[in-house]
Structure formats: C-alpha cells, structure tokens
C-alpha cells in the first residue's frame, strides 16, 4: 500500500516560490492500477516523484509498504527504491549500454552476480517481447521498444510498485495501446501495483481502476474510475471527461435529455427501447459512451420533437433506472 498524508511540496527559485503540491492525501492499494490525471503543470510529476522521494516533500508522510520514506536514512531509502520501479516519458535509458546492459544495471547496483543478472534480464526480455534486441543499443530502437526496455529495467529487481510518469505521452496511439496492455498484464501476472501519471483521459479509461484528479496542486477528486467517469464533480474532471459543450449543436428551442451510463445500464438497449416501446422519434445529437472493464460509461444527448415526448421518455427511463438530466 502507498499512503500519502498531508503532503506539501514547495519549490523555491531565485525569484519566487512555487507551491507544487498542497495537502495531498492519497491511498493506493496493492493491486491497483491507479491513475493520476491533470492538466500540464498541475503537479502530477512532482507528486509521483514524491512517492520514491526523487523529490523530498516539505511536509507530510509517504508511506510505502508500511515504511515512511521521509523518515528513513539515505541507505534505507536506496534499498526501498529497489522495491519501487519507475518509468518516464523520455525512457531515460543509458545510451552507451546495450538493451541487456540497461536491464542488468539495477541488478548490478543491487550486487547481483553477473550471470544471474543476465539470466533475469533474459526472462524480462521475454516478458516485454524483445528477445531479439538483447544486444541492440537504445539508439537503434523505436520509442515503443525503448519504453519496453525501460519497463524491463524497472521490473528487474522485482518491485512491488511501478511508477509511470507520462510513460506513453511520447508514443503514437497504437504503441500507447500496446504499452498499456503490457502494463496491464504485468499488473495481473505479477501483482505489481501501478501508478500512472497522465494528462490523457483515454489512458485512465483503458487500464486504471482508480483515479485521482489533480488541479493546481490539489487533489480535487478521487475514486473508482467508473464513478468519476459517470459523475465528475469538479470542474476540471468535467472538462477532462465530458465532451465539449460547444461540440454539441443544440439548436435554439430544441429540447433534449442527457442520458448518463454508469456501468449498470447499456447504451444500445436503452436507445432502441425508447424508440420501440414509446414510439418516440429521438434524435441523437451527441454520444460518447465507453466500455470500461466490460461496463458502459458515458453519456448521450437526445433531442425530441416535443415536451410531451420528453415526458414520455422520462417515464420510461425512470422505470429502467437510467440516469438522465433535462437539457435545453
């Protein structure tokens, strides 16, 4: 478990003082894939770097696996870090070492014998599907391959936790998907708890079970991904999750309903039911429904020809426990 309590971080520069994090409280359970999402400059990187103390908080506790890392000696901190892997947006591989040399690095540091280290490195190469690149240098790899090497390297010492700071932000959509799938399988197969920092909702949506929304140095909202997705409360979460209002072209005088799918009702049966059972002439103005962990989340804007039709639809929806709100 990672437990952060009352954490604050202030950066002092020559000319000013930047409060990067203020009074952060966060609990990440073992086995979670925990997303931390926010806009650029919100404090995400600072927060994740406080977890392994690359950044030392000014206040607060960072308890990883029962130990408050802010209180241990440097030597103990180094040992604790072997249990917390980290990957980065820019991969940060050692350019002068081969792929296997990079993966062996943390093992070398941990004092593992060379032969054993290489054996472990080859296992990891198999996990990240790069067995044929063992002796390549980072400059010879694509972005996705570099991130795979970084993942293998971060996992070399068998950490319980893996921190990912914008790990897919430098990658194209297909590569992003394959890296996220790899992270997901690492979580499932080896029970590694993963913390994912991102500014992209799609990343959280694809693999996270929990999410915290961070804005201007504060955590404004956190909880199950499904919950936050269906019912974002903070402005920033709405902005990140809900579609841009201006994208929905509701004409003057047009009345409509916003249907909300929270993982219990399903999009298609609702729509076809409305049309079939009530004989309504519903018009879909906008729809953004996603499947997360096999459930449907999102919302859909429907317009109806008359106020009466809307009332009919509401009666039908009430009977089926579909959430909605009246718009227009």
């Amino acid at each position: 478990m990672i437990k952060i309590t009352n954490l604050s971080k202030i950066f002092y520069t020559e000319t000013s003082k930047v409060k990067a994090l203020e009074n952060i409280n966060l609990t990440i359970n073992d086995g979670d894939i925990f997303g931390i999402i926010g806009l650029s400059g919100a404090g995400k990187s600072t927060l994740v770097r406080c977890i392994n103390l690359l950044e030392r908080p000014n206040e607060g506790e960072v308890i990883v696996g029962g130990v408050d890392l802010t209180k241990v000696s440097e030597k103990e901190l180094r040992l604790a870090r072997r249990n917390i892997g980290m990957i980065f947006q820019n991969f940060n591989l050692l350019e002068q070492r081969t792929v296997i040399g990079n993966i062996c690095f943390p093992l070398e540091i941990a004092g593992v014998k060379r032969q054993d280290a290489e054996k472990r490195a080859r296992e990891l190469l198999e996990i990240v599907s790069l067995t044929d690149k063992e002796n390549a240098y980072p400059s010879q790899l694509s972005g996705g391959q570099k991130q795979r090497v970084a993942i293998a390297r971060a996992l070399a010492t068998n950490p319980k936790y893996l921190l990912c700071d914008e790990a897919t932000s430098a990658l194209d959509p297909n590569t992003t998907t394959s890296i996220l799938e790899l992270l997901q399988s690492i979580n499932k197969q080896f029970g590694v708890t993963i913390v994912i920092i991102t500014h992209e909702m799609s990343v959280v949506e694809k693999i996270c079970n929990k999410v915290a929304v961070i804005d201007h140095s504060h955590i404004v909202e956190q909880g199950e991904v499904g919950e936050i997705f269906t019912n974002p409360k903070s402005e920033i979460a709405k902005q990140l999750i809900l579609p841009n209002k201006s994208k929905i072209n509701i004409q003057e005088g047009q009345k409509g309903l916003r249907l909300i799918f929270n993982g219990e009702s399903y999009a298609e049966p609702v729509l076809s039911g409305l049309v079939r059972d009530c004989g309504l002439d519903a018009n879909v103005l906008f729809a953004d429904v996603k499947e997360i962990n096999g459930k449907h989340y999102g919302h859909m804007f429907l317009s109806f020809p008359s106020e009466q039709d809307i009332e009919k639809a509401i009666t039908w929806l009430d009977g089926r426990k579909v959430n909605y709100s009246k718009e227009g």
Binding site: N52, L54, R82, G85, L94, Q96, F105, I109
Partner: protein, 235 residues
C-alpha cells in the same frame, strides 16, 4: 611518411643539415612526449576536479554551493592567466619541485598547472551533457551517488570526454611551443633557435607544417576512437 616529408623538404639545405644531425626527429619526439605526459598528468588532477565541480553544482548530484564556488573560482583564475605569463611565474615553483629552473621538466610542470583547470572545465561541461533524466532513472533504482559517478556519468559522457581530451591535448601542444622561453625542447624551440634567431624562414615553415601534421594526427585519432566507442551513432 618520413620519406615523403624528406622529399618535400629536400629543397631546404638547412633542413637537411638538421635532419642529418637528428635534431628534427629529436624535436618532434620532445614535443610529442612533453605534450602527452603533461596532458596525462593534467587529467589525473583535472578529471576528478571537473567531476567534483559538477557533483557539487546546483544541478549536480549533491549541491554544495561553497565548495562549488571555490573550485569554480580556482579554475577560472588559473584559466584566465595567459600561458606565457603563468609559465614564467611558475619557474620558481617548478624549481622547488624538480630542482632546476629551465628545461623540459620545468615546461612539463608549468604545462600541467596551465592545463589541469582547462581539463577540469572540459570534463565538467562534458558531464553536464549527460541527460538529467538518466541520472534520475539511476537514482530511482537506488543507485548511490558514487556509483552514479562511475557507472552513469563517466560512461555516458565518454564520447564527450574523449573529444575533450583531444582538444586539451592540442591546446597543450600549442602551449608547449613556447618552450624556448625557458630553455625546453621541441618544435617550438626548433622554430625559435634555428629558424627565427638565424633568419631561416625555411625552418620556421617546416616547424609549422610538422605541428599541423601532429595536430591533424591527434584529431584523426580522436575522431576514430569516438566513432568506435559512441553507441549513439547508428551503424
């Protein structure tokens, strides 16, 4: 190569005389060994000094403002004194160390003193080029500061360090040409005593040419080593 040079220089009778006395080869050898020996010893001091300067800097591994400022000031002061002045100023110091106030030994001592701050600065800037993200990645794996120096900074900065080494060597070679001022040998001495002082332009130009050839040879060697060792170059 030597044969080729001899053919070119055959027009110069003075050159042939000096060649036959063995003075040309002797001077080349002196220049080469003075340069290499001085540079090597300068690195023994300058390499750790440059690393320490980076290590203690604001964005370094462990910021220590006081130490950093002191080291930086020392390097800057020594670097800003023109070599010829430093050389004559250091003659008494050199005498203390080697017991003489003229000759190759004195030159080597002064070259080392002039070169080590230069080397330190070169090393510092080479190491600064190592991506900070890579250092952080190593820290996130629980690497101690000492291991970061030896397993991350030096190996990752290796190509830049080699390039810096070549530039330093060439600089020392240039300084060593002022040897005649304190009675040391080498191509500089040859140019002054057999060329300039005897109004013998041939010899001066021959010295220029030989120096250029030495510099080119050193640089080519450096480029070759870097190309062989830098893994960032796609092959």
């Amino acid at each position: 190569m030597l044969h080729c040079l001899l053919t070119i220089f055959q027009f110069s009778e003075d050159f042939i005389k000096l060649w036959e006395k063995g003075i040309i080869l002797q001077s080349i050898w002196e220049t080469v060994y003075i340069t290499i020996l001085s540079t090597m010893i300068a690195y023994l001091i300058g390499l750790p000094l440059g690393i320490l300067t980076y290590y203690t800097s604001k964005d370094g591994i462990r910021p220590m403002p006081w130490l950093h400022k002191t080291l930086s000031a020392l390097i800057n002061v020594l670097r800003s004194v023109p070599f010829i002045i430093l050389m004559v100023a250091l003659v008494p110091f050199a005498k203390m160390i080697i017991g003489k106030s003229y000759g190759n030994g004195v030159l080597i001592v002064t070259l080392i003193i002039a070169a080590f701050p230069y080397v330190a600065r070169m090393v510092e800037s080479s190491i600064q080029e190592v991506d900070h993200g890579v250092i952080e990645a190593a820290q996130s794996m629980g690497t101690s500061n000492l291991k970061i120096v030896f397993k991350v900074l030096i190996p990752e900065a290796n190509p830049a360090l080699i390039t810096g080494g070549i530039i330093s060597t060439v600089t020392v070679l240039g300084y060593s040409a002022m040897a005649a001022t304190i009675g040391a040998g080498g191509l500089g001495m040859l140019a002054i005593t057999y060329g300039h002082q005897r109004f013998n332009d041939d010899i001066i130009w021959i010295c220029v040419l030989l120096t250029v050839l030495l510099v080119v040879a050193i640089q080519e060697l450096g480029v070759w080593i870097v190309r062989k060792t830098d893994k960032r170059i796609k092959k």
